[in-house]
């Protein structure tokens, strides 16, 4: 299958070919690729693409995927501390 037709990030319409081009240009970690291609910035916040991209970064850098950092999880998609919920009952 053509790399251009394999969609890696559905929110921002980024293909496998785009990911490989970014890696070849020298953007070799998730946060850098995110800034150039917007992967992880759409409504799903990387929940679909992050593991796929992690594997591509690992393959390119010839390292174990477990050592590849993915991007920072940002609110609103993140766990909530129960104490914060308990203490925000001011209204």
């Amino acid at each position: 299958m053509n790399k251009q037709d394999i969609i890696i990030c559905r929110c921002e319409d980024v293909s496998l070919a785009d990911i490989h081009k970014a890696l070849e240009m020298g953007y070799r970690d998730f946060e850098s690729i995110k800034r150039i291609l917007r992967v992880g910035m759409g409504p799903c916040q990387g929940q679909t693409c992050e593991h796929l991209i992690k594997n591509e970064i690992a393959r390119f850098n010839k390292v174990n995927p477990e050592t590849v950092k993915i991007h920072k999880t940002r609110p609103l998609i993140s766990g909530v501390v129960l104490k914060d919920i308990a203490e925000s009952q001011d209204e």
Binding site: D29, R38, M41, P75
Partner: protein, 381 residues
């Protein structure tokens, strides 16, 4: 041992612009260090707005000259993609007599410096953004040549152009020490390597004060967290950036379709915190719901924070220093991205010893020796 003609600390928009401009003037052996990955700091966290409506002469000139560059940046830098320069204008709302008086003064100053801003009545403002809450403001000022630039792509354009001219970038290299001998910089030491150099540029953004301390220089700046949120991509809702100083909001739809908005926290501590708080989300939602109820119907998908590096007069420091060949570009007070083009040009002139235009002498760090005389910028969020 590695040698460099100059070492630039920080590969954010400021360091990138300085590196590109120096290389374009023919300087060789330029090294740029960054402690993290590409655009880890404030550049990638900024609100993406570029405006010329300021209350001080200095900020107006810096902004106007930078906008001139943004309008030609794709061609000058031979960028294959597009920096997304969009001139939807900035609509700055007034909601009090004091703001009316301030804006009248601002527009007069801006016009005298060639910036085509104007005062608008409420009705005129509503023609530009029909869904503004009529009850939330009384009048406005507007400049149609203000607008938006994509910070990621603008940075990449500088980065690729600088690399093409031979600038060497080292990411994940945190500067730990700068050696000074007889009042002159001699060596920069990172956690991974050492470089012998004649000159150093401090373009460390939120960490500019700490980098100054490495050479014993006290730069009167501090860092402060400013939070932002972004909505899902949506239909065209806002052409200009809508802003209010008194209601504490800036809000713009970027070409991508998502809407960015931010406000300051008057109780923010002076430190390197860049975390997200629920208080911001709560206050931001209430503010935007009051001024722009149509925008408040959109879904928020992400919030983040970034450092403003704040100077005593909310204007940048672009100058040499009491340490020979140690140069500074910091203290942008939240506006480093929009002033980056002129920063690179001016600091290059300072470094290679070309005469400066008169106005630029006011950017010197020595202006803070007499705090009574500084011309403070008030039009900031």
């Amino acid at each position: 041992m590695n040698k460099a003609e100059i070492v630039i600390i920080g590969a954010g928009i400021t360091g990138l612009s300085v590196a590109y401009n120096l290389a374009k003037k023919g300087m060789k052996d330029i090294v740029v260090f960054d402690k993290s990955h590409f655009l880890a700091g404030a550049t990638a966290r900024c609100g993406a707005g570029v405006r010329q409506q300021w209350a001080t002469k200095l900020n107006c000139i810096l902004a106007r000259k930078s906008i001139e560059f943004f309008s030609k940046a794709n061609e000058i830098l031979e960028y294959e993609k597009d920096i997304e320069f969009k001139q939807g204008g900035y609509l700055i709302l007034s909601s009090s007599k004091e703001e009316d008086i301030q804006f009248e003064k601002n527009v007069k100053l801006q016009n005298s410096l060639g910036i085509p801003s104007k005062l608008l009545t409420k009705e005129e403002a509503l023609k530009i953004v029909p869904h503004l809450n009529k009850a939330s403001f009384t009048s406005a000022s507007f400049c149609h040549t203000d607008g938006h630039v994509n910070p990621f792509l603008m940075s990449e354009a500088y980065y690729l152009a600088a690399k093409k001219l031979g600038v060497k970038f080292y990411f994940f290299n945190e500067v730990k020490a700068i050696n000074v001998t007889d009042g002159k910089v001699t060596k920069v030491i990172t956690d991974k390597m050492e470089v012998i150099t004649k000159r150093v540029v401090n373009a460390a953004g939120g960490f500019a004060k700490e980098v100054g301390e490495m050479v014993g220089l006290d730069i009167p700046v501090y860092s402060e967290n400013h939070e932002i949120l972004v909505t899902e991509r949506t239909k065209p809702l806002l052409d200009p950036m809508v802003m209010s100083f008194s209601m504490n909001i800036y809000c713009q739809q970027v070409p991508h379709g998502s809407i960015l908005m931010g406000r300051n926290n008057p109780d923010a501590l002076h430190n390197h915190d860049i975390s997200s708080s629920w208080q911001f989300l709560d206050e931001m939602a209430k503010t935007v719901n009051h001024i722009l109820p149509e925008v408040a119907k959109q879904r928020v998908i992400r919030t983040w924070g970034g450092s403003y590096n704040i100077s005593p007069d909310f204007q940048p420091i672009i100058s040499d220093s009491s340490i020979s060949d140690f140069y500074i570009a910091c203290g942008y007070s939240g506006h480093g991205f929009m002033f980056a083009p002129i920063t690179g040009e001016l600091l290059t002139e300072i470094i290679i010893g070309e005469p400066l235009e008169d106005y630029a002498n006011a950017l010197h760090i020595d202006r803070f020796k007499d705090m009574e005389k500084i011309d403070k910028e008030h039009s900031v969020v």
